[in-house]
């Protein structure tokens, strides 16, 4: 699943220069959303 060197086109995003970095940011956002949903239920049981 790791992008090879040929598709290593610049992302053009500030602070995230590789596609691998972009994918980690997306995975991090998933963890964040799931965490928020779990927290919502914990705060309002």
């Amino acid at each position: 699943m790791t992008p090879g060197p040929k598709d290593g086109e610049a992302t053009g995003l500030p602070g995230v220069r590789t596609w691998k970095g972009v994918y980690w940011v997306v995975a991090g956002s998933f963890v964040l959303w799931v965490g928020l949903l779990v927290a919502l239920e914990m705060f309002f049981p």
Binding site: M1, P3, A10, W19, V26, W33, V34
Partner: protein, 571 residues
């Protein structure tokens, strides 16, 4: 709806369709007609991918899911971010490098012609059915509550999409989707704000969430390993990932959207935009349904949300029983509201003991009201056996018509149609493209001018539009509509994904092995669906099982073929 609502509704829909047709009509180059002009920026790709997936059913039916079952349905989308990452990293570079018009052309290059045709045929079958539901879903609900004729609603809305999709092709789809998703965002945001304003005085947003929590409507994530519940964290993550991988990676209606990007970067960023936004967007729509549930704890809802069906039975012999049920429901709701206010007063005083004491009677009162609603559904079924007793698709539209101001009503109805149009246009565009490229050009007429294939593509797009309209005219669904779409997709998607993953990762497997493996795996999935009551496997798992079966069967068949001395074709 009054005249102002109709002006907003018709002005929005016809304005976008006319603009899309005017800007794109008259293109004759095949690549431009099928993939757009090739200069689409990432944000348009992202919105287009989002608009293609988010049909009218998403906005009409999902709030009803939130109302009935809370936030749990969001788990269905947990696999989507990871699937989109895999597509951006693996699928997309291959599609772009090979410059394919359709995803199934890749199967032909990697395996053989029959495997390409099988993949394309499975797509046409399930997407052809899906296109019918896409147009049927808003039409059945809106015609019922508005008193419009169902057949005219289906035909008029269907033909409008067919006209601008045929006229402008992929470019028209991208262009109109940009404005349609703008209307959708504006409408849903307006509904959310007005809903918050309509909550009872003194009830804060925090109180509303606390009320929802009392009735388990905020239970979003279920980490249990039980395979029977439809939605758990694991079924959403694994089953949902395979569903999303198949849908976004191999369904031509999506592939066509992101292949219109001007570069690999633009296509990837469009996909990553969806990877980040999909879960919060679905959670937001479900939360809207949860807040409507809270709203109706204070404002008595109809005992059955499909009020047209209720009135019809009431006027045709079942009146006495239904009126008795209505009276029971009014009493049960009044008691529930009284208990709720007692519990809220204790909560506001921060009196934990009183709050705890008020909780049990509140839950009991809610159960009684719920029991009366179940009785109402049973009464309808008794009066008309075989009738649809699922009214969750009518929750949001009932709220809109009964409680939102004029103008906003027109905007929200425009949202449903805009969402239906955006999905249907992409589906028709993909159905026409696949029929032209994978069947007509491949089997019937191999060498012809671009203008000939563009004309053929227009005819096939129109034909699929008419088939979808015909299917919608004959459709009758008992399931909640958004679940019906996902169930149909899950029956086919796993096997199609298995074909593609075999192509990417099983280098020794050839066309003959994967072809028969796909047929066997599809038969297995049909069997699982037919015996679903006995087996009790949630449909999301079909995506995993279908994909795994296709890959395992293809390896086994290839081993047999190798043992018999046959060479792996296309490997």
């Amino acid at each position: 709806m009054n005249a102002f609502d109709y002006v907003v509704l018709l002005g929005t829909l016809f304005g976008i369709a006319a603009y899309g047709t005017w800007r794109t009509v008259g293109r004759s180059d095949l690549r431009t007609y099928l993939h757009g002009s090739g200069d689409t920026p990432w944000i348009v790709i992202g919105l287009s991918v989002m608009a293609t997936q988010a049909s009218a059913i998403t906005f009409l039916s999902t709030p009803g899911q939130g109302y009935e079952d809370g936030l749990g349905f969001v788990q269905n989308y947990f696999g989507a971010p990871f699937a989109l990452i895999a597509i951006a990293a693996v699928f997309l570079p291959i599609y772009r490098r090979l410059k394919v018009y359709t995803a199934y052309e890749y199967l032909g290059q990697r395996f053989d012609s029959k495997t390409r045709l099988l993949g394309a045929a499975l797509f046409l079958l399930q997407r052809g059915l899906g296109a019918g539901i896409t147009i049927y879903a808003p039409a059945i609900v809106l015609s019922t509550v508005m008193g419009w004729r169902l057949d005219l609603t289906i035909v008029c809305s269907g033909l409008l999409v067919v006209i601008y999709t045929v006229a402008g092709g992929s470019k028209a789809v991208n262009l109109t989707q940009k404005y349609q998703i703008g209307v959708i965002f504006a409408g849903m945001a307006a509904a959310f704000v007005v809903l918050l304003c309509r909550l009872p005085a003194g009830l804060t947003f925090s109180d509303a969430l606390a009320v929802a929590g009392q009735f388990h409507r905020l239970h979003a994530v279920d980490f249990s390993l039980d395979m029977r519940p439809r939605y758990t964290f694991w079924s959403g993550l694994l089953g949902g990932m395979f569903l999303a991988l198949s849908y976004f990676g191999t369904d031509q209606s999506q592939v066509q959207r992101y292949l219109s990007g001007s570069s690999l970067r633009e296509s990837r960023l469009g996909l990553m935009f969806n990877a980040v936004c999909k879960i919060p967007m679905q959670a937001f729509i479900l939360l809207l349904g949860v807040l409507i549930f809270v709203f109706y704890q204070f404002e008595r809802p109809p005992v059955f949300f499909n009020q047209a069906a209720w009135r019809h039975e009431s006027d045709h012999g079942g009146g006495a029983r239904l009126r008795a049920i209505e009276a029971d429901f009014a009493a049960a709701h009044a008691e529930e509201r009284s208990r709720l206010e007692t519990w809220l007063a204790a909560r506001h005083r921060a009196d934990r003991a009183a709050e705890a004491a008020a909780r049990a009677p509140l839950v009991e009162a809610q159960k009684r009201a719920q029991a009366v609603r179940s009785e109402a559904k049973q009464a309808l079924l008794d009066a008309r056996p075989g009738a649809t007793a699922n009214d969750s698709d009518y929750v949001f539209i009932t709220f809109i018509l009964d409680h939102l101001p004029h103008g906003i009503i027109g905007l929200l109805v425009a949202v449903f149609f805009a969402a239906a149009f955006s999905s249907k246009a992409a589906e028709l565009n993909a159905l026409g493209s696949t029929t032209t490229v994978d069947f007509y050009r491949h089997l019937v007429r191999r060498e012809a001018a671009d203008a000939h294939y563009v004309a053929a593509s227009k005819w096939f797009t129109a034909l699929w539009g008419l088939i979808a309209i015909g299917f919608a005219l004959g459709a009758n669904l008992a399931e909640n509509l958004i679940q019906a779409v996902n169930i149909i997709g899950s029956i086919f998607y796993g096997v199609v994904l298995g074909l593609f993953l075999s192509a990417f990762f099983l280098r020794r497997v050839g066309g003959t092995a994967v072809f028969w493996a796909a047929l066997a795996a599809q038969t297995l999935i049909f069997a699982l669906w037919i015996f679903r009551s006995a087996l009790g496997i949630s449909y999301l798992w079909y995506n995993v099982i279908g994909c795994a079966a296709c890959m395992l069967f293809s390896m086994a068949i290839q081993a047999v073929l190798d043992g018999a001395g046959a060479k792996p074709a296309g490997a």
